[in-house]
């Protein structure tokens, strides 16, 4: 209970940093960053075996942010973990920054792979998981995908590979916030029975509320327990989570804060910390 309380607090502080980062950049993917904030916090603060002082450590757990547009959430997590200093926070999307609009593994310490073009992260993660198997290492690879992203066919090529090769050292986490750029996922192209799809591709499936640390954190911890197949965690989330005016709002997929809604966002998050 204390641990999950602490994770919640870290996550709310990280949300403030995401708002600050995007406010200073005048653009950024607010909705999808905030929907995965709790997932990233639980992973980096409670589950993943990483060393911010040694980002290239061979035995580290890996993370691929397949939905690369949620970069601000990952950048803030890496920054707060100490991979790079806070002075970079205001440089997102600016010329010469280590914080590109979408993740660039050669620019940002702590990024395990470049991403941003949807549908490609699971295959990259498979490669990392196979590398662990080939070299006898026991690190785990996590891939975070968006639900809209599952419309990309490559996701299912890679899901089939993970299932067929029984990559039990790989976990796919699907951020199901229900929205994509032009509307609701179910209206644009309904994903159908997601649990059934992942199970039929050979994954052990867990469904959680992606903002409830009491569910999310233990589910992520279980990925480290011995099992015989890849895992899929279907995390039901809210796009823009934490900001009343952005939650579930399509127009906050990508946005810019006015001084007014920036102030409101910071106020709401402060209240959440105090509440």
């Amino acid at each position: 209970m204390e641990r999950t309380e602490e994770l919640r607090r870290i996550s709310t502080l990280a949300r403030q940093d995401v708002v600050q980062m995007i406010y200073e950049a005048h653009a950024g993917h607010v909705g999808g960053s905030l929907s995965i904030m709790d997932i990233l916090t639980a992973l980096y603060y409670g589950v993943m075996n990483v060393d911010p002082r040694n980002p290239q450590w061979e035995d580290r757990d890996r993370l691929v942010l397949s939905k690369g547009h949620a970069a601000p959430a990952l950048y803030v997590t890496l920054m707060n973990k100490g991979y790079f200093s806070r002075e970079h926070l205001g440089t997102l999307r600016k010329m010469g920054s280590i914080l590109q609009g979408h993740p660039d593994m050669r620019k940002t310490p702590g990024l395990d792979f470049t991403s941003g073009s949807l549908g490609n992260g699971l295959g990259l993660g498979n490669g990392m998981a196979l590398a662990a198997r080939l070299s006898g290492k026991d690190y785990h690879t996590y891939v975070i995908l968006g639900d809209g992203e599952l419309q990309e066919g490559t996701v299912w090529e890679s899901a089939m590979t993970a299932g067929a090769k029984k990559l039990s050292n790989l976990t796919a986490i699907v951020d199901i916030n229900g929205l994509q750029v032009e509307g609701a996922v179910k209206d644009i192209k309904d994903l159908g029975d997601l649990r059934g799809k992942w199970e039929s591709f050979g994954f052990a499936v867990t469904e959680v509320d992606g903002h409830d640390m009491e569910q999310l954190y233990p589910a992520l911890l279980r990925t480290k327990e011995p099992h015989d197949r890849p895992m899929a965690i279907l995390a039901h989330t809210v796009k823009g989570k934490g900001l009343s005016f952005a939650e579930g709002q399509m127009n906050w997929h990508k946005g810019d804060f006015t001084p007014e809604n920036y102030a409101q966002a910071m106020r709401e998050l402060k209240e959440a910390l105090e509440g």
Binding site: F113, S117, G123, A129
Partner: protein, 312 residues
């Protein structure tokens, strides 16, 4: 004596895997056609059968490379270029991953299979990706030497093989990015890539015999980075060049050479290439003749280019 490049590459990879514990070969259900089935049999622990999913195969390779492996993915040229162009660009080239894309069926050489399995645009597509190295060997010996260099080279490489058996030429010392003279000549140099090297040598012999024209032949086995210094020197020395490739005239060797020539020493550049068209099924020799990339076409282009030079 002729040899399939796939046979040569299988031999080379089998040697390399004994020396390098990071080498791993991935295939998309065409190991036999590419020529590396034997590798898969003898090194099952270093061979990943990925099934018919080329995009996933390239992504998997990029993930492996990020963990220090040297993955060689193998398929046909069309599928190893256009089908996976974005994966190569964004996940291999942009983050400079050490991935090797080994493809067979380059050009119109899978002659009977027809257009869906031929590839006349792959070199152009891959050449346009920043940071790529693009290689096409011209016989079994060069294939072995170049595959070794490709694996030793840190960074993404596209390695294109012709599907036909090609005449074995005497082994030569090769260096990535350096064209190599295979026949001396005093009138004009022919710069050829891939299977066209042997055809250019054939053309040079007949030019000498029938027309008294002395043509040099250079193998340009590395399309990118291109041997610009050699091309400049040849342009200055001879005042005219001919290029020969089993690829569309758009965006291939001829245009690459022309850019160097126009930037440094503008002289006529005759181009033997597929004339912006898809081919069809047929016997290889018939196709070469029909699409004007046969030895006779190279010879005709040499004469026409010398004629252009003399009119200047």
């Amino acid at each position: 004596m002729k040899q399939l490049l796939g046979e040569a590459v299988n031999e080379c990879l089998s040697e390399l895997v004994e020396e390098n514990d990071k080498l791993v070969v991935l295939n998309a259900d065409v190991a036999k056609s590419v020529g590396i089935r034997e590798f898969g049999r003898t090194h099952p622990d270093r061979f990943l059968q990925m099934g018919i999913s080329e995009q996933d195969m390239v992504l998997t390779a990029c993930g492996l490379a990020s963990c220090g492996y040297i993955p060689v993915v193998s398929t046909f040229a069309k599928f190893g270029s256009l089908r996976v162009a974005e994966q190569i660009s964004t996940f291999a080239a942009y983050p400079r991953q050490n991935v090797k894309i080994l493809v067979s069926h380059g050009g119109i050489s899978p002659a009977g299979d027809g257009v869906t399995h031929q590839s006349v645009e792959d070199l152009g597509a891959i050449r346009a990706i920043p940071g790529m190295t693009v290689i096409e060997p011209y016989d079994g010996n060069s294939c072995k030497a170049l595959m070794r260099l490709a694996v030793e080279h840190p960074g993404p490489v596209y390695f294109r093989m012709n599907r036909e058996k090609l005449p074995l030429l005497p082994p030569t010392e090769l260096e990535l990015g350096k064209g190599v003279e295979l026949r001396a000549g005093s009138d004009i140099p022919i710069l050829a890539i891939g299977g066209m090297v042997a055809l250019a040598l054939e053309a040079a012999v007949s030019l000498e015999r029938e027309s008294g024209i002395s043509a040099a032949v250079y193998a340009i086995h590395t399309l990118k980075p291109l041997d610009e210094a050699l091309i400049r020197t040849l342009a200055e020395t001879y005042g005219a060049l001919v290029t020969a490739e089993e690829h569309n005239i758009q965006c291939g060797l001829g245009e690459a050479v022309s850019r160097v020539v126009t930037d440094s020493c503008p002289v006529p550049v005759g181009k033997v290439a597929i004339q912006d068209t898809f081919a069809q099924s047929g016997a290889y020799a018939e196709l070469l003749a029909y699409y004007h990339v046969a030895p006779a076409d190279i010879a005709a282009c040499v004469k026409a280019t010398l004629e252009r030079k003399s009119r200047r």
